[in-house]
Amino acid sequence: MKMIITVLAFLVITTTQAQTNYEKGMTKAFEFWKNQKTDEAANLFERIAKAEKENWLPYYCAAQVHIVKTFNSKDGKEILSRLEQAQNYLNEAKTFSKNNAEITIMEAMLNSAYVIYDGQAYGMTHSPKVEALYQKAKAIEPENPRAILYHAEWQMGAAKFWGKDPKAFCPEIEKAILYFEKESSDIPFYPQWGKDQIARVQKNCQ
C-alpha cells in the first residue's frame, strides 16, 4: 500500500512538473518575444518542441517568430535563411498535426513573405500557393478568423494591383471580427493572434 502511494505521489509530481515545465517554458518564450528577444524566443520554442516530442504548437510558434521577423528585415540572406528555417519547423509541426488550419495559415504567411521579399523572383511561383493555402485553411475551419482576415488582406492586395476596388473584401473583415469574438480554445497557448491587425487591414475600407 505504502509502495503504491509512493509511486502514485511520484507520478503525480513528475507529471505536474512536466506540465508546468511546458507552461513555464511557453510563457517565458512569449515573454522573450514580447521583449523583442526574437532569437531567444525562437530558440526556446525550438527547445520546447524538441523536448515535447509530439506537440505541434512550439514548432508552430518557432516558425511564426522567424516569419514575423522577416517582415521588418531588408537583409536578403537573413530573410531567406529564416524562411527556410520556418519551413522546416512547419514541416515538423505538420507531422504531429495533419490538416491543421493554423499551420496552413502560417504556411500561407510564409509563402507571402517570399512574395513580399522579392515579387519578381517568387511572385509567379508562390502566389498561387498562398491562395491555395488560405482556401485550404478555410475549408478545414470555415470560421477561423485569421484565415478570413489574412486571406482578405491578400485578396485586397491583388485587387489593388488590378486596379479593382479592395473594398469588395470588407465584409470579410466584418466576418473575421465576429469570429474573433467567438474564438475560444481549451488548449493552452492555442493561436489567438491577429485581432490587433484588424484596424490595419480595415484601412483599405476607408
Binding site: 505504502k2 502511494i5 509512493t6 505521489a9 511520484f10 509530481i13 512538473q17 515545465n21 511546458y22 517554458g25 532569437d39 531567444e40 525562437a42 530558440n43 526556446l44 525550438e46 527547445r47 520546447i48 524538441k50 523536448a51 536578403g76 540572406k77 531567406l80 535563411s81 529564416r82 527556410e84 528555417q85 522579392d118 519578381q120 523572383a121 517568387y122 509567379m124 511561383t125 502566389s127 498561387p128 500557393k129 491562395e131 491555395a132 482556401q135 491583388a158 488590378w162 486596379g163
Partner: protein, 717 residues
C-alpha cells in the same frame, strides 16, 4: 505513514532540484563569437541562448550522460554526449553549414534558372518572357553568352560547336529529338511546351559526369513535381490554337495540353521568300502524370507530335528548285522515379523511349527514316554529410535506325544500324568549408557500334573570394558518337572528342550579377569525308580536329531601375576546325566572333502591361567563295535584330499578346550558296541564304480558368 510519505516527497523533489551548471563559449571557425545560438540538453527543457560574447550558462537537474546540442542558423549542429558534470567552460567551434546561403557554388560552365534565387542567373519566367523567343524555351537560352546566333537554324550552337553537340534531357533522361522536324534554312523550335517545366540548367561546358555523348553542351529540363492547382488554359494565336488542363487528386496529378498550328492563313497575308506549297502544319499533345509515394515521386511524361509541310527549296544548281515535302511523327515517353531509400541514400531512375518516323520526298526521291531510341538509367546518391556526397549510376542507350530511299534513278537503297552503348559514372562533391568546394567525377562509355571504350574525367573547383564573388575552374573530357548522317554509311570511326578548360568569375550583389567565363576547348577525332556531303561511297576518317577559345560575359541588373529588368551578354569566340569536307582548318559558317544580346523587360503598372525588347547582334558569318583561292576567308555582313513584345493583362486571367521579330526589318544574310560549276565568264554564281520573311508577327489571346482566379499565362509568353 503520512510523515514517511512527506519525507519521500521532500527527498525526491530535492533530488530533482539538485542542479548542475553547464557553461561554455561558442565561436565560429575563425574565432568570432556566435550570439543567439540555441544550447540545450537533448530531450529536456534545460537550455539557453548564447550571449553577445558567445557565452552561455544554464542549470540542469539531469545527471550523468546527456547530449548537449548547439544549433544556429547556417551552421551545422554541434552535439556532445558526456557526463553533465564535465560540461563546464566548454570551448565550442561551430562548423558552417556548407549547404546554407552564401556558400560557394560549383557553377563553372552552367546557367541555372529556377527558384533558388542565389544560384540562378535566369528566373523561371525568363525562359518564356524573352522577346523574340515567342514561347520557345530554346529562344531564351540563345540570349545567353556562349551561344552563337544562327537564326536560320533555330537550334543551340554553343562555343564553336555545331547544333548536334548539344543534348537535351528531361528529368535526367535523354530527349532524342528535341527539335521539330524542319527543312534547310527554315528555323526549328523546341518540341516541348515550356509550361510543363520548372528548374532548368543550361551548361555551356564542363558539365557533370552524369551526362555524356555531347561535345559542347547539355540542357537539363525538369518537369514540375506538383502543380499548385487545377486549371484550364486556352490559347488562340494567329498561327494556331491550343488548350491545356491540370487535374489534382490526393496523391496524383495529371496535366495535358494540345496545340494545333497551321501557318497557311498567316502566309497568305505576310509574303514569304520561300515558295510554300503546303505551309507548316503541326499537331502536338503532351501529358504528365505524377504520383506521390510515401518516400518518392513518380513522373510519367508523354509527347506526341505530327508535322507536315511542303515547299520549293531553292538551289543555285537547279533553277526550278527542289520540291521538298516532309511528314514527321514523333512519340516520346519518359518515366522517372526519385525516392528516398533511407539512411541518406536516394535513388533516381527511369527510362525514356522515342519513336521518330520521317517521310521526306525530295523531287522524285522518297526517303523514309525510322529511328527508335531507348535510354535506361539508374543513379543512386549517398549523403555522407553535408560536406561529402557521392553519386554513381549506370545507363544503357539503345538506338535502331533504318532508312529506305526510293528513286527513279536507282533501286531502293536500304541502310540501317544499331547504336547501342553502355555508360557508368561516379561523381562526388566535397565541400572543404563554406569557401572551397570540389566536384570530381569520371564517366566510362562502351559503344558497341564503334567498338570503343572511353574513360572521361571531369573536375571542377570553386573558391569564394569574398561575400559577393567567387572564382571557379572546370576541366573535362567529352566523347560523342558521330551523327546519324554519317553512321548510316559507316561505323568504322572513333567517337569524336573534346576537352574543356573553363575559368569562371562570378559577382553577385543586391540583384546585380556579373559572370565572366574564359574557356579553351580542344576537338579531336572529328569526322572528315571527301565529298560535298556525306554519301554512301565517301571515304570517312576520324582525323579532324579543331579548337575554340573565347570569353563570355553576362551582366544582369534587376534593381537599379524600378520595374525594369535587363540582362546583356557578350561572347567572343575564336574557333577553327578541320572537319567534314574542309580542305584546311577554318572557322565554320555557324561560328561568329562577336555575339551580343540585350534583353529587357519593363512592367508598366498603369497599363497592366509587360513590354519586352531584345536586341541581337552577331558579327559576319564566314563563307567560302570558290572565286577566290583561299578557303572560307569571306564574311557576310553582321546580323542584327530588334524584337519586341507586349503582353497586356485584360483581367487577371486574360492576356492579350503581341510580338514582332526584327521590328526594323534589317536585311540579314546567313550564308551564300555557290554554283557547282562556273558560268560562261568563268565565275561561280551564288544565291543568298536569307530568312523566309524579315519579320514574324504573333497576336494571341491567352485565357486561364482556375480556382484562385489570379493565375495566368503571362509566364508562357
Amino acid at each position: 505513514m503520512r510523515s514517511l510519505l512527506s519525507t519521500i516527497l521532500v527527498f525526491t523533489t530535492a533530488f530533482f532540484y539538485a542542479q548542475t551548471k553547464i557553461s561554455g563559449n561558442i565561436k565560429d571557425a575563425s574565432g568570432i563569437p556566435i550570439a543567439g545560438a540555441n544550447v540545450y540538453l537533448d530531450g529536456t527543457y534545460d537550455g539557453s541562448s548564447s550571449n553577445d560574447t558567445g557565452a552561455f550558462i544554464f542549470y540542469t537537474e539531469e545527471t550523468e550522460q546527456q547530449t548537449l546540442i548547439i544549433s544556429f542558423l547556417s551552421f551545422e549542429n554541434f552535439t556532445l554526449t558526456a557526463d553533465v558534470a564535465t560540461m563546464k567552460a566548454l570551448e565550442i567551434k561551430l562548423r558552417e553549414d556548407v549547404n546554407s546561403l552564401g556558400s560557394v557554388m560549383l557553377n563553372a560552365g552552367s546557367f541555372a534558372a529556377g527558384d533558388n534565387s542565389e544560384a540562378s542567373v535566369l528566373k523561371p519566367l525568363d525562359i518564356v518572357t524573352t522577346a523574340g523567343a515567342a514561347g520557345d524555351y530554346i529562344g531564351a537560352f540563345q540570349t545567353l553568352p556562349g551561344t552563337s546566333t544562327v537564326a536560320e537554324d533555330g537550334r543551340l550552337f554553343v562555343r564553336g560547336g555545331d547544333a548536334d553537340e548539344a543534348n537535351v534531357y528531361i528529368d535526367g533522361l535523354r530527349v532524342f529529338q528535341p527539335y521539330n522536324a524542319t527543312a534547310n534554312n527554315i528555323p526549328t523550335r523546341g518540341r516541348f511546351s515550356p509550361f510543363l517545366f520548372k528548374g532548368t540548367t543550361f551548361s555551356t561546358g564542363g558539365y557533370s559526369a552524369e551526362y555524356g555523348d555531347a561535345l559542347s553542351s547539355v540542357l537539363l529540363l525538369n518537369t514540375i513535381d506538383q502543380p499548385d492547382q487545377e486549371k484550364t488554359e486556352f490559347q488562340v494565336i494567329n498561327v494556331g490554337l491550343g488548350m491545356g488542363n491540370t487535374q489534382k487528386w490526393k496523391n496524383n496529378s495529371l496535366s495535358i495540353n494540345a496545340f494545333y498550328s497551321n501557318l497557311k492563313p498567316y502566309q497568305e497575308i505576310i509574303s514569304q521568300r520561300v515558295d510554300w506549297i503546303k505551309p507548316f502544319e503541326s499537331l502536338s499533345g503532351e501529358a504528365v502524370y505524377r504520383h506521390q509515394f510515401k518516400n518518392g515521386l513518380l513522373k510519367v511524361y508523354g509527347g506526341l507530335n505530327y508535322t507536315n509541310f511542303q515547299l520549293i527549296q531553292e538551289d543555285i544548281n537547279t533553277p526550278e528548285g527542289f520540291n521538298f515535302e516532309l511528314t514527321n511523327r514523333n512519340l516520346y515517353m519518359n518515366a522517372s522515379y526519385k525516392g528516398d531509400l533511407g539512411n541518406d541514400w536516394s535513388i533516381n531512375t527511369g527510362a525514356s523511349i522515342a519513336n521518330d518516323d520521317s517521310d521526306i520526298i525530295i523531287s522524285e526521291t522518297d526517303v523514309d527514316d525510322m529511328d527508335n531510341s531507348v535510354h535506361l538509367k539508374v543513379k543512386v546518391r549517398k549523403r555522407f554529410s553535408n560536406r561529402f556526397k557521392l553519386s554513381f549510376g549506370v545507363e544503357q542507350f539503345l538506338g535502331d535506325f533504318t532508312e529506305d530511299v526510293d528513286s527513279p534513278d536507282f533501286e531502293t537503297f536500304h541502310t540501317s544500324y544499331q547504336n547501342n552503348s553502355t555508360a557508368t559514372f561516379a561523381e562526388s562533391s566535397i565541400f572543404f568549408n563554406k569557401k572551397l568546394a570540389m566536384k570530381i567525377g569520371v564517366r566510362g562509355t562502351h559503344n558497341q557500334l564503334l567498338e570503343s571504350t572511353k574513360i572521361a574525367p571531369r573536375v571542377s573547383l570553386a573558391y569564394k573570394t569574398s561575400e559577393t564573388s567567387q572564382v571557379s575552374f572546370a576541366y573535362g573530357d567529352f566523347y560523342q558518337t558521330p551523327q546519324q548522317e554519317i553512321l548510316k554509311y559507316t561505323t568504322l570511326l572513333d567517337p569524336k572528342k573534346s576537352s574543356h578548360y573553363l575559368f569562371n568569375y562570378l559577382f553577385q550583389h543586391k540583384g546585380r550579377t556579373l559572370r565572366a567565363e574564359a574557356y579553351y576547348k580542344k576537338y579531336d577525332q572529328l569526322v572528315k569525308y571527301n565529298t560535298s556531303m556525306p554519301m554512301f561511297d565517301s571515304d570517312y576518317m576520324s582525323s579532324g580536329d579543331g579548337y575554340a577559345t573565347g570569353l563570355d560575359l553576362y551582366w544582369r541588373d534587376n534593381t537599379s531601375i524600378k520595374n525594369l529588368e535587363y540582362w546583356t551578354s557578350y561572347s567572343y569566340l575564336d574557333t577553327e576546325r578541320d572537319y567534314q569536307n574542309f580542305t584546311e582548318s577554318a572557322t565554320p559558317n555557324f561560328a561568329t566572333a562577336h555575339n551580343i544580346s540585350f534583353v529587357s523587360k519593363y512592367w508598366i503598372k498603369d497599363w497592366k502591361s509587360m513590354v519586352g525588347a531584345t536586341y541581337n547582334f552577331a558579327s559576319g558569318r564566314p563563307y567560302d567563295d570558290p572565286n577566290t583561292t583561299t578557303f572560307m576567308d569571306k564574311k557576310t555582313k553582321a546580323y542584327q535584330a530588334l524584337n519586341m513584345n507586349w503582353a497586356y493583362l485584360i483581367s487577371p486571367q486574360k492576356v492579350l499578346f503581341f510580338s514582332v521579330s526584327n521590328v526594323l526589318g534589317t536585311d540579314n544574310i546567313f550564308n551564300y550558296q555557290y554554283a557547282n560549276t562556273p558560268n560562261a565568264t568563268g565565275n561561280f554564281d551564288r544565291q543568298t541564304i536569307r530568312p523566309a520573311a524579315d519579320r514574324f508577327f504573333i497576336v494571341g489571346f491567352f485565357w486561364t480558368i482556375s480556382d484562385d482566379k489570379t493565375d495566368n499565362q503571362l509566364d508562357n509568353l
